[in-house]
Amino acid sequence: GESVGLHLPTLSVQEGDNSIINCAYSNSASDYFIWYKQESGKGPQFIIDIRSNMDKRQGQRVTVLLNKTVKHLSLQIAATQPGDSAVYFCAENKPPNNNAGNMLTFGGGTRLMVKP
């Protein structure tokens, strides 16, 4: 079936370095993408989103890049801090088909570990 997946299950970076977390999606009909951060024992926390009519969007210390040609999504975190340590999920949303399609489809997640 169609799914959202990630290339790397675990990413370890040095504090202060930039982090890049990648995600591949297979549903070409998806037109809205979100990155979530999930810390242990907590629910997913919204980081940044992007719609398919854009290829880049920037937030505070984070940038999301969307390459529709190769169906690839990435999250860049600048100057990674220990508080960034968490599991990161990308999620996709496709246009609704009648009442269905409003749900998010999540990938398996990448664990980011920040070394002091």
Partner: protein
């Protein structure tokens, strides 16, 4: 303002017991979603409400799972005759409108079925 809240945060049930999980969405949010998250995996969709109407329940794994949102705000996910494979974190999310709106998640209810 207040985010999505869920209760209880933890629930231990004996196999065969019924459980009820509550979700209080962000005030004014029309859409409400339930997801199930197994350990080490991403959340998986269960069901979706727009106001009080359950528009999509395609993700509910069996007829033991039932969800309602009778007044278009608080929602309850009920699991009857719980099984060990029901052990997971149950997440609730709400969004202001419907499609392509940011979904904000609650902390989840961690269910352990013994």
């Amino acid at each position: 303002g207040a985010g999505v809240s869920q209760s209880p945060r933890y629930k231990v049930a004996k196999r065969g017991q019924d459980v009820a999980l509550r979700c209080d969405p962000i005030s004014g949010h029309v859409s409400l979603f339930w997801y199930q998250q197994a350990l080490g995996q991403g959340p998986e969709f269960l069901t979706y409400f727009q106001n009080e109407a359950q528009l999509d329940k395609s993700g509910l794994p069996s007829d033991r799972f039932f969800a309602e949102r009778p007044e278009g705000s608080v929602s309850t996910l009920k699991i009857q005759r719980t099984q060990q494979e029901d052990s997971a974190v149950y997440l609730c999310a709400s969004s202001l409108a419907g499609n392509q709106e940011t979904q904000y998640f609650g902390p989840g209810t961690r269910l352990l079925v013994l």
